[in-house]
């Protein structure tokens, strides 16, 4: 369980997020939404200890994360940033980097590490790519490789910053299905998404932000019915039945 208490955080002494009191629900998908610059990524970075809060505390199971050694924290939380370097490295070696927090002084992977990496590669169906250089892969394939690295890191909490941005619709949905699988494995997933329809369809909880503060944190249906999305984004939203199973989709247009 991860909990933020009265958190103020930002850059260059300017608070981007303010007065955040939030507990992310365990073994579920929470999506943070909001307009550009409202503090979504800052919230994610602060919750994963990549950014130290000016004020307030972040706890994992009642432990202050700033007091935890970095490798111990990396065994509990993984974070996939939106902007990443694309190093010159094979798929297998990149996924193996996910085991970094578990490696000893010699940095030599043990049989257990190799097994977990092979398992992550298998779960994301990347067997045919393992010897490929990631610079040769498409954006969607690359994203899957990074998710395999996160899987190999084997943490209970997974933070993903815009994991579907720049992907075509097929890869976008494939990544979202993988994220669903992460939840089924018992992981707590917290992500930032710009696509509101996907956010509402794939999440158990929605955290809507505006100007660095949380407007509402609730189930997608409750957030939709509050009409706060319409107000914050200055749009009109509607819900439509999409499938025979009664599942719902959301559509949005300008006011």
């Amino acid at each position: 369980m991860i909990k933020l208490e009265n958190v103020y955080s930002g850059y260059n002494r300017t608070a981007i997020i303010k007065n955040i009191d939030l507990t992310f629900e365990e073994k579920s998908i929470t999506t943070i939404i909001g307009k550009n610059g409202c503090g979504k990524t800052t919230l994610l970075r602060t919750a994963s200890n990549l950014l130290k809060p000016f004020q307030g505390k972040v706890y994992i199971v009642d432990k202050d994360i700033t007091d935890m050694p970095s490798k111990e924290l990396a065994k509990k939380i993984s974070f996939l940033p939106q902007i990443r370097s694309v190093p010159n490295i094979s798929v297998y070696n990149l996924v193996m980097h996910g085991r970094y927090p578990y490696l000893g002084f010699s940095r030599t992977p043990q049989a257990e590490d190799k097994k977990i990496v092979a398992d992550a590669i298998h779960k994301l169906n990347l067997e045919k790519l393992i010897n490929k250089n990631i610079q040769q892969l498409s954006g969607g394939q690359r994203q899957k490789v990074y998710l395999a690295m996160v899987l190999a890191q084997d943490t209970d909490i997974v933070f993903l910053d815009e994991p579907t941005t720049y992907l075509d619709i097929n890869h976008k949905l494939e990544i979202l299905e993988i994220i669903k699988k992460l939840k089924q494995m018992g992981k707590t997933v917290v992500m930032v998404l710009h696509d509101l329809s996907n956010a509402l369809s794939y999440s158990d909880r929605i955290c809507l932000m505006e100007e660095g503060e949380i407007v509402i944190y609730d189930t997608p249906q409750a957030v939709y019915e509050s009409r706060e999305i319409d107000r914050v984004f200055d749009i009109v939203s509607a819900q439509v039945a999409a499938g025979e199973d009664g599942s719902k989709q959301y559509i949005f247009c300008l006011q």
Binding site: K71, L80, H122, I130
Partner: protein, 347 residues
Amino acid sequence: MNILQESCILKSLNKNSKSYNFTVIAFLLVLLLAAIFLSISIGSVKISFPDIVASIKQADQASETYRIINYVRIPRTIAAVFAGCALSVAGAILQSVLNNSLASPSIIGVNSGAGLFFVLIAAFFPASIYLSTIAAFAGAIVAVFLVYFIAKKTGASRMVIVLAGVAVSSFIGAITDTILTLKPDTVMARAGFIIGGFSGITMDRVAFAGIIILIAFFIALILSYDMNVLALGDESAKSLGLNVIGVRFSSLIIAAVLAGSAISFAGLIGFVGLIVPHASRFLVGHDNRIIIPVSALIGSIFTLLCDLLARVLFAPYEIPVGIIMSFLGGPFFIYLLMKRRRGQLYD
């Protein structure tokens, strides 16, 4: 996933790359031994292999051959091996941790710092050649600490380090030029230092720097996996539990110690630090665990061969090794660049 599927994945891993890397290292080791032999054997006086062996066994300490080998050729060969190894490994480290293909020891202020301290000694203690050796090493380290201090104050990103290096180098260069203007006698000494070379080198000048280079080289090997993780980008590396700033700065310091040690006895023969890491990546890819030893070997071989050419091309006259390096290295570097068509160079 069952055991069969796991073993299938592990089996399909490119096992050839490991044996290929060992073959490359073995081949380079043989090449290095050959270059060492040539360096000891060839010069204004040619010495045969049996004479070299006899001399090492101390057959006749009064003989001319013994004195040439022990007081001229061996110190010079060891100096070239250490300088080539140190500068190449320093370049490989810097290109990796700064994610900058053009990085070399000069980019973090090593050359300008060593240059300033060398000129200071030449200006105020002109008789002491040993003091200038230590001063060049100290100057390199001081300049890097200055870059470190500025970069740390402003967030220590890769770009800030490069910019801080440029600013510090420019400032130190201005101080050096001021001293050169006020003390024109130092200009000649500085010219020799800038071009660099191994002529007249003695074992006691190389020994201390050599030990430091060996220690720094092993620390670089220990840091090599962490450098690989750092290549993922600061945020990804940090979220994997890597101490990003710690690894980046320890790598910078190790690079500075390596380059500073080499510069202290060889002068500024820095070009080797720029091209050898590229040649290594061309051969063995981007894993620092293999690039560092391969760069050390290629750097030593290249420097030895350049020094050999410097001695024999216009014998009995000798030209500075830095000039040969630029003549050979420049076109080779252009060849590598031409071969690079959208990332094909290292694949």
